[in-house]
Symmetry: D2
Subunit: 321 residues, 4 copies
């Protein structure tokens, strides 16, 4: 087998924008309590990042009437990859929108689509970077300000967990067209129930899980050590946000990660996550039969999950216009 010629290469999840009902409450939750680093604030939006994110921001919080997913963005290897992706989507009959540099803070030109499974996605190449030098030109890595951080703090954006109507149909897009690699997947009644997809060597940049239609289950941030998962619960309870703890801490069997799920004041679900593995993209996907997944895949251990854990938040209905 020779090397295939690639028309584009998606590198990773870049950022996520969530809709929040109350920006001030969101700032308190994300910045003051959890310790996200504020990057910039506009009249109707707040942009934050983890302490080990090199992109200027990785989480956008925009004022809206309802919670949910405004959009998420995938970084491509070369600027010209946007042209190839535009061509691909035209071939698929998917409308595309090009937006100019600066439409979002620090971002270069971008391509926006609603994916065939209904999700608001943006492709981009350029994003402004966090400085790595101090005022005197000496190296100062972004995460080396522990004396200024607060909260957990979160390290970097990790993945999106999406709900879709038909995961097998989703895979024809995510795996076959965008060339995401499946790390693990679950089969129920002969059909794919869920698949964890990645362009990095971790377990996933994006997961697609069967539900009644497109919606967002959660966006996840990576933390530095297992104890940070319990620290998240301490911080929320101490700060009066105990009701925002949705589920956890626990460990997933599928992906092997420690987790805790929390809800922001508008109801968006955030996962604080740590401990998945690194495995080559061309490794054989790991297959879970339903019973096996149901018993030890979703939760390797941890209490029974509550019914509220199945709730999701809607996706932006007007994207990409």
């Amino acid at each position: 087998m020779g090397r295939p010629q690639e028309a584009f290469r998606i590198l990773r999840l870049g950022h996520c924008v969530l809709r929040v009902r109350d920006l001030s409450a969101a700032r308190s939750f994300y910045v003051d309590v959890l310790g996200f680093v504020p990057a910039l604030e506009e009249r109707d939006a707040l942009y934050v990042r983890g302490i080990a994110d090199f992109d200027l921001w990785t989480l956008g919080l925009v004022q809206a009437d309802e919670p949910g997913l405004d959009h998420f963005a995938l970084r491509v290897e070369y600027p010209d990859d946007l042209d190839a992706l535009e061509e691909l989507h035209r071939t698929l009959g998917v409308p595309v929108t090009r937006v100019e540099a600066g439409r979002e803070p620090g971002q270069g030109e971008a391509l926006r689509v609603r994916t065939p499974d209904g999700h608001p996605v943006e492709f981009y190449h350029h994003m402004e970077q966090v400085p790595v030098y101090d005022d005197r030109g000496r190296v100062r890595l972004p995460m080396r300000s522990t004396h200024r951080f607060r909260g957990i703090p979160p390290m970097f954006i990790d993945h999106m967990n999406l709900r879709v109507e038909d995961p097998d149909a989703s895979l024809t897009y995510w795996r076959d067209r965008l060339r995401f690699s499946i790390s693990e997947y679950t089969v129920r009644d002969g059909k794919t129930f869920a698949a964890w997809l990645r362009r990095r060597r971790g377990t996933h940049d994006v997961a697609v899980v069967r539900s009644t239609g497109p919606s967002l289950h959660h966006v996840a941030y990576h933390v530095g050590e297992p104890a940070d998962v319990m620290r998240t619960a301490d911080l929320l309870a101490d700060a009066g946000f105990r009701a925002q703890i949705d589920f956890g801490p626990g460990r997933h069997g599928l992906s092997n990660a420690f987790f805790i799920y929390v809800r922001d004041p508008s109801g968006n679900r955030l996962e604080i996550y740590m401990g998945d593995y690194q495995r080559d993209l061309d490794a054989e996907p790991i297959r879970w039969e339903w019973e096996d997944y149901d018993e030890g895949g979703r939760l390797w251990w941890s209490p029974e999950y509550p019914a509220r854990f199945l709730e999701t938040t809607p996706v932006n209905p007007s994207w990409p216009l």
Copy 2:
């Protein structure tokens, strides 16, 4: 106020003996998976300890038809304290039994009583100690064999959580006679619902909680860092003991400790515990009103507790004979 003359002084919880249905299963659970250090094994009993216990053993596991509490033991400051305690119990009309040195491995002479609230308790002064020197006479602390330990491992025995019919009546014994100090307590409908009692500076050696009568809720072992609480769940799930995870991990509001509750193969509940505070014995007891305790005392955060968490195991009916 002058100094009161003391007739005896209880120092701390010394050990606990649990009844198990299957010694071999108990060995696998406590020693092979959780990493308790085996001290000695007899035909019908196994004696183990944590890696930072200096007593030869702190947990006894004895063959029995039913699970539950055989007895637990409190260490007194001086050998003669046993005489004073014998006198005290005679005054209270509580039958006492003296047992000779060696009745339990490594233990000196002891005094056995069934407490007024129905619990099987032993008072003792002497217990054989773990060596602190190696074969060549050089100092070697017991916990400095990390290359040989397995499991969590547990560090030292911490406390007993007892169920009693009437906590206010229990306090006339534990607080007024044995001079335990209350660290925290809960009031429900004008009566004490539960009290945490100690002779060390931590939050408790013994807790008494209202129920239908004397039974054991759990014995607790202290671990070295918060992540060990999650490691306990990993170990049990990895070893095929997932069903033995009872509840947790979480954090208590009352006592401030991280916890996970697990059940041994016979059904005895063990708490893996870390993070309570040190406070002087003469400090004012901390009082929780019921609603406050119910909301943030039992659990500062963590999921709703399952009904099985209210189950207890019986106490030895034939003690102290």
Copy 3:
């Protein structure tokens, strides 16, 4: 053996007051970077505590021309113990000073002495306590404000490490008169080189180590988990206080604790400490021969210690006047 009658009982180390050349620099170091909780500030003094200290303050920082130890204080079990201690010191020919309640913030009446080995010591019974209820009367333990803490943060004061001219002579005071228990000690050339002394069940409240005369090596604070020892170094380096890292992180053989030593901007040495063991006060002291101590007692592992580690700071020459 019957129970001895005690004339007094020392419970623990209570607080330490250090002399600093620059209060503002001390505030920055202790409060802003390391995360000590400020309790109150006066014109010439700053009083702080750890997050799990229940005393209003445990570390005093007072303006002075030179760094060093102003004094440290030991808490006694009953107010009348001060009378017995006054009597004891008169018997020993040691001048005593009684100071009224309020001489130090929140403190009751106290007894001040210069110990026979030259150290400035205060005995007291009463100290104002940190509130354990919130404004609405609900329980709120002091350490449950993780969303407000910064720095490591330190948990509670642990011990004083003193230099003395003749440790054997010191023991006739600390062990024989004050009834401190030796946890471990080192013998060099047939004489005691150093001894670790305690009234709590940990390894030490006070250590006395041979040197040319009375001086202070360090005061130690306990932290919550081993990683906090490394976090201390991160915080100092990140905040521009890298030169204040004196030695470590490492592990002691004697006491078994993880440590890092840092210097405040005036040169006072602080140990950040975690992991020693709990052992009964009447347990046989553990004896280290010099060669054994020199090889594995001071440092179980960690790099060779630098010459500066032998430096000490002076004790208050005008105490107790």
Copy 4:
């Protein structure tokens, strides 16, 4: 700019083979104490891995008269990439050797070269994988056997630190020909002193540092949390391998990672490593001026490094024959 056509793509460091004088001592050190997982053993070689490595083995230990680097191996994306790499090296005038599948356990066909800067390197595509299913066909990830692991344990192979005579010359090979991305580099007297090179998103798969010629400084394994770095020192000291602790624990400024360096019984240096960052391969390399690097790059904090830290072990003189 359009997308460049790639003739080959190196994915990551795959494995490293070290020469050891005593296989039995190596087994004791790597397997019994540090907790590497033994994969297979031959008469003259032992093959081990970390608990989160998916390759059957990532560290080979082969019997030899002298310690040092036998070779290390880089995984390529496609089998045909070996042809393109063979062609590249012929162009460079570098002799190549093709070895058949099975020359090393579990490995497919490979290409072996001595790099222009003198290092023994192997390129390969296929390596046998650790099973991810149990005997009954249920998913069982390799790292989910905590009840069987011992030691730290190490998680996965991370990087090689090489010494070379002229880093600028090395970069014409590693960066310009093999297309490694520089994460950070140091400049001294106008020339590159050292460069950290990667094909994964971490800080390095390979580092080249100026010295008198080709030699090995260390191979590094990644661990799960910061405390594991200190645990490494505890394990070695407890097991009687205290003299094998070379330097650390500490934190690097360049790469941001926690580290400890240890020596195996033959003198090969191993780094236990955790905490570097993820950054895109096309991000601007971070440049350290010498003084800056010397002060805060090599060590963000931690004690002065000992002279022995500059020692290296030789590279296999007879590779690739």
